[in-house]
Every structure is written in C-alpha cells, then in structure tokens.
C-alpha cells in the first residue's frame, strides 16, 4: 500500500482497509455501486497470498465467505441493495454459527432495481432486521474516504472480537467520492484477530462462551475438530432442540453485543461544545451536508450542532439522548422516505421532543440548503 497522499475513491479505500485489517479472502458478485471493491480485490488479493473468487450470485458469495472464515480466513464481500437482500439467509447462518465476516453494503436507491446508480440510505432497517428470526449484528457507516478505510478495519476488528457479521453500510456518495488519502502505516491502527482455543483438542466446544460471552473459534484444518450448524445447537455445535438451550442461545447471540455496547458504539459530534439548540443527527455522506448546514445556521444566529452516527447498530440511543435532551429541536436528515433513523431517534428521545425529518428519496443527495430549511 502506498503511503503518500493519493486521490482515491471510497471503494478503493474499503478494499485497502480490508487488506490492512488482514482480510485474505474475498468472494463476491459485481453490482453497482460496489464493483470497484471487487475489482481492487481481484488485483490485490493474489499478490498478498489471498484469494479473490467471483461467485455465481450473492447467495453463494456470502456462503463462500462464511466457509473461508471457518477455515481461518478474515473474509469479506461487497454488494449493494439487491445483492444484500439475497445474502440475508446465509448471513443468518453467520449469526447463528457465530462466524466472523464483513459485508460491505454500498447503498443505492430502490426499491428493486430502482435508480441503480444513485445513492440512498434506505437499507438501515434491512441491515438490522433483514434476516428472519431473532438475531443481532453490528453495523457501521462511513462519511468520508478516510472513514471508508478506518471503519473497514474496525468492522473486521469487531467481527473477529465478537464472532458476528459486521455490515459496513456505506452509500454511493462516499463509495464513489474521491478524496486525498494517506494510508496508515502498519501498526498505526489496531488490528484484532479472533480468539483461538487453547484447551486440549478433545475438550474444545466451539459455542461454549467464556466470561466475555464469546467462545474461541478454531479453524478447519487445525488440530481442533468442530461442528458448526445453522440449526439450533448446544455448546458442542451438535443439534440441540431443548427449549432451555434454544432460549439460552438466542439470548446469548444478543447479550454478547449488548453487554459490550460501549466497545461497539461510536459517534462523533461537531459544534456541540457550547451546547446546541438544534441538533442534527446524521450518518454516512449526509453528515457532510449536516456539518455545512450547522455552520451556516450558526452564522445566522442559531446554535446548531451535529451528532454523526458512526455505529448504526446497536443504535447509539444513549448518545442521542445525552445530546438531544437539551436541544430545542432535533433534525434527522436521511436519504430514505420513512425516516428509518428518525424513528430510532424518536425512541431515544420520547414522544414530546420536536423532531424534524428531512428525507430525500429521489436519488439526489441531501444538500445543506435542504437541512437549513428545517433548522431555520
């Protein structure tokens, strides 16, 4: 990786971030606006001892990623809305089997083929709830080329740490935007590897959670022999249909995320040091418009600030509550119709709060002017 400043695209930064994090396996199916990630990986992977494999569809792509991860790889795939929908069932297996993996979802406008090359932020709920059954995942959202790199590294770290799929919910704007970027030196960013078993091989139980709620994960081909199942299973990985076991396991899949919330939830605030009357809650590319809108509002005498949601799931409800509590008005600009994040903000702040939504769902970016109209 070149260390001098370069003008690169978000998608390229994502591919380079994955390599930096130690990813050595990419399986995917090309789809706009994520395809540059596949192209970069096909170029980089064979040269670093890794593998790029183009699968027959997105269902197979996430399946191959899960398989490679269980063979010991840090593995990932990249897609957009239609492909992300196809991945949901096998992502559920990654949740159930507690298989670390990363999925980049470069969001585009829908529904269906929609405006295939245009940006959107309408997969927030699909990211969280797209799979059937009770389950919990982690999702991050970058707002710049630099964050495309750093949050991809974070996504791998969290996936490895918690044995859970992590979704990087990018959008077409950050993915195709070019910014000056200098790659961090090796060691500059923390890189986390999954916890491996240390017990004698005969005693290894792949789903027996330790004190931190996360079981060590061996690799196929190591001296540890183990079972992983999409079906309800006991600590040894074999089928177990007892109600007590099922209740414990479903709760555990949630608990391991919930009890480590503070390690996972990341936000950043801008212009909130002096307290703000108007709080803009934004994520992804729209954060940039929100920051410009807040600065403009301040010029016009309104004390506005921005809370950027870097982690989307688990939702930063406490962070929203702390900053939103003292604000007169909270504005949530997002590129979807229903106000998918605004609903969560409402949950965090209660029914009495003045919450204004700014929604755009025509394939165009939300501008600072769009937001200012709701602020002023």
């Amino acid at each position: 990786m070149q260390r001098e400043a370069r003008l690169i695209q978000g998608n390229q930064a994502i591919a380079e971030g994955a390599i930096y994090a130690g990813a050595r396996f990419y399986a995917g199916y090309p789809i706009t606006p994520s395809s540059e990630i596949a192209e970069e990986c096909s170029r980089i992977m064979p040269g670093v001892g890794g593998m790029y494999i183009q699968m027959e569809d997105e269902i197979a792509s996430i399946a191959a990623v899960v398989g490679a991860s269980l063979a010991g790889a840090k593995a990932f795939t990249a897609t957009s809305g239609p492909g992300f929908s196809l991945m949901q069932e096998n992502l559920g297996l990654a949740v159930m089997g507690e298989v670390p993996c990363v999925v980049i979802n470069v969001q585009r406008s829908g529904p269906s083929t929609g405006l295939a090359t245009k940006p959107a932020q309408s997969d927030v709920m699909q990211v969280r709830w797209g799979r059937h059954g009770d389950q919990s995942i982690i999702a991050l959202s970058p707002s710049s080329v630099k964050e495309c790199f750093t949050l991809t590294v974070q996504a791998f770290n969290l996936a490895e740490r918690f044995r859970v799929p992590v979704i990087l919910a990018a959008d077409e704007i950050v993915a195709h935007m070019r910014e000056s970027f200098t790659a961090p030196a090796p060691g500059e960013l923390e890189v986390v590897d999954r916890k491996k078993p240390a017990c004698p091989p005969g005693q290894y139980k792949p789903f027996e959670a330790g004190e931190d709620g996360v079981a060590p994960l061996a690799a196929y081909g190591s001296r540890y022999v183990f079972h992983v199942s999409s079906s309800m299973h006991g600590p040894d990985g074999y089928s177990n249909n007892s109600p007590a076991n099922a209740a414990w396991r479903v709760a555990q899949l949630h608990r391991k995320i919930e009890t480590h919330r503070d390690e996972i939830v990341m936000t950043r605030s801008y212009y909130t040091g002096d307290g703000c009357d108007v709080l803009l809650v934004a994520f992804g590319a729209v954060t940039r418009a929100a920051r410009a809108a807040a600065l403009e509002a301040r010029k016009r005498g309104v004390k506005a600030g921005v809370l950027q949601l870097i982690t989307l799931w688990p939702f930063p409800d406490l962070e929203v509550a702390v900053l939103g509590e003292n604000a007169r008005t909270v504005v949530v600009p997002e590129m979807n119709y229903a106000g998918q994040v605004a609903g969560e903000v409402r949950k965090a702040l209660g029914p009495g709060k003045d919450i204004r939504r700014v929604n755009k769902f025509n394939g165009q970016i939300i501008t600072p002017k769009d937001i200012l109209e709701a602020v002023m």
Binding site: F25, A27, M55, E56, A60, G67, Y220, V228
Partner: protein, 272 residues
C-alpha cells in the same frame, strides 16, 4: 483380512439413526464412512458440509469437522472452505432438492469451476423430510404430495448435468448396490477437481407409497431391476422410458482444478 467399517467416524450413541425403515441414507452413509476409512481420512483434515433435508442431517452422526448449512447452498459454503484451505478433504452431502433444485445454480458453477470437492447426492426423487413434495428429479408423471395428478414437469438427470457443466468425475450408484457405491465414492474422493456421486435411494415413506411401490421392499426390487452396470448398459435393451438407467463411473477427466489454476494466477500477480 479386515474390512473397513467406518465406525470410528460415527459419534458415540447416535444409532439407531433417524431415517425411515427402507430409506437408503444409512446405506450411503455407511459406504461413505468405509471409503473414508480405506483412504485413511483424518477428522482434522476432513470437513463434511451438509445441506437441508433427510440426507442433510448426516452430520449429526459424524465426528469429523462439519458445517450444516442452509437449503441448497452447501456447495457454496464448501467452495469457500476448499478455496482457502486446499489441503482439506471437503465432502458435500446434499439431496436432490439441495443439489439440483433450489441449489442448481451452485451445482453447475461448482462443476464448471472444477473446485476440488466431492458431492454425494442422495436422490430419492422427492422432498422426503417435508412430506414428499415434488422435486427437480421427480420423474414426469409421478405422484407426489404436490403433484397429486402426476408431475407435469420433466426430471433432471443429475449426472448428465454435472458432465455437461464440466465435472472431472461423475458416478451413479444406488442404495441397493453398497459395494459398488463405496468404490465410486472412493474414486470420487481421490479425484482432483469436482466429483459427483449420485446415489439413487428409495423413499418408501413418500415416493414409494405414492407410486405403487410399497412396501419398502418393492422399491428396492425396482431399483435392483432398473439399475444396469454401465458396462452392460444398452440404451436399446434398457429403454429410459421404462425406467432403466446405467450406474457406475460415467465421467473421468483430469482438467486442472480451481486451486491449481489460482496458483497460476498468484504466480502471475507476483511477476506483475
């Protein structure tokens, strides 16, 4: 001389198995485990990947590494395992629903890619686990719980499909020819590249009962009569329309497998 039993790959206390009396899945499992033993497969170096269905439950009985996956996608999970660690023996167990109905796309592409996996498909010509519904291999005209007036669609020939898609090795066996099946599985496991063994199996509970082949013994007699060793198979004497089919080794090629090809790509990347 002692013969392989395959028992060392069975989990303690799991027998008797869950499959219906007269079902062939147990026979196929036995043939596979004896083949494992004859080839001296180590649990640490072996991953059995299963789909969903009666045969997809087979991993419950095994002490090798295993991954029990989603319906139809076993080959795609297995592809990731084998692609990342080519030293592993990766064996994929699927039914006719998994392999060529819901999972048909993965089946043809695994064969085209010639990834070094062995697929063992138990074809019982219907969806046994969910109550005997029609599958992509149910013969035309046959009765199932969702084709009560007869199947209006034609059936896939799984072996011909694998052949056309580029598999290096294709064999057909039946659950009534255990010794031959075991040898086919052994050949498939030692063949580099994508290998397929189709094992035709009775489903007396559903397919047989619905198609005038009960009791279970009738289906076994039917299979014994209709299955002809490929060396003796003559399409004129054994018309397909009357249900005859050849069994044994049908395809044997040596095209380079995916991982071998990818090593060439890595070498090219290193030079560029």
């Amino acid at each position: 001389m002692s013969h392989a039993t395959g028992v060392k790959y069975l989990k303690d206390g799991v027998l008797p198995h869950m499959w219906c009396p007269g079902c062939g899945a147990g026979t196929v499992l036995g043939a596979m485990l004896r083949a494992f033993e004859e080839l001296d497969f180590k649990n640490e170096e072996t991953v059995v990947v299963t789909g969903i269905g009666c045969w997809g439950k087979a991993d419950d009985y095994l002490v090798t590494n295993a991954l029990h996956t989603t319906h139809g996608r076993a080959l795609a999970f297995a592809t990731g395992i084998k692609a990342f660690n080519p030293r592993l023996n990766v064996v994929v167990l699927m039914g006719d629903g998994d392999s060529v109905t819901i999972g048909g796309n993965h089946f043809i592409h695994a064969a085209r890619r010639n990834i070094d996996l062995t697929a063992i498909v138990v074809n019982n010509m219907n969806y046994g686990m969910t109550g005997g519904q029609v599958s992509g291999t149910t013969p035309a005209g046959k009765i199932t719980s969702t084709t009560v007036y007869g199947n209006p669609e034609r059936e896939f020939d799984i072996c011909a499909l694998a052949d056309a898609a580029g598999a290096n090795y294709v064999a057909r066996g039946t659950a009534c020819h255990g010794w031959e099946l075991q040898n086919s599985i052994k050949e498939a496991l030692t063949k580099k590249g994508f290998s397929l063994v189709e094992a035709i199996s009775p489903c007396p509970t559903h397919f047989g009962r619905n198609n005038n082949l009960k009791p279970a013994l009738e289906m076994i007699r039917w299979l014994k009569e209709k299955a002809v060793p490929v060396e003796q198979y003559d399409p004129l004497a054994h018309p397909k329309e009357e249900g005859y089919f050849p069994f044994g080794r049908l395809v044997d090629r040596n095209a380079p497998d995916f991982n071998t090809r990818y090593e060439e790509i890595r070498a090219r990347a290193a030079r560029s």
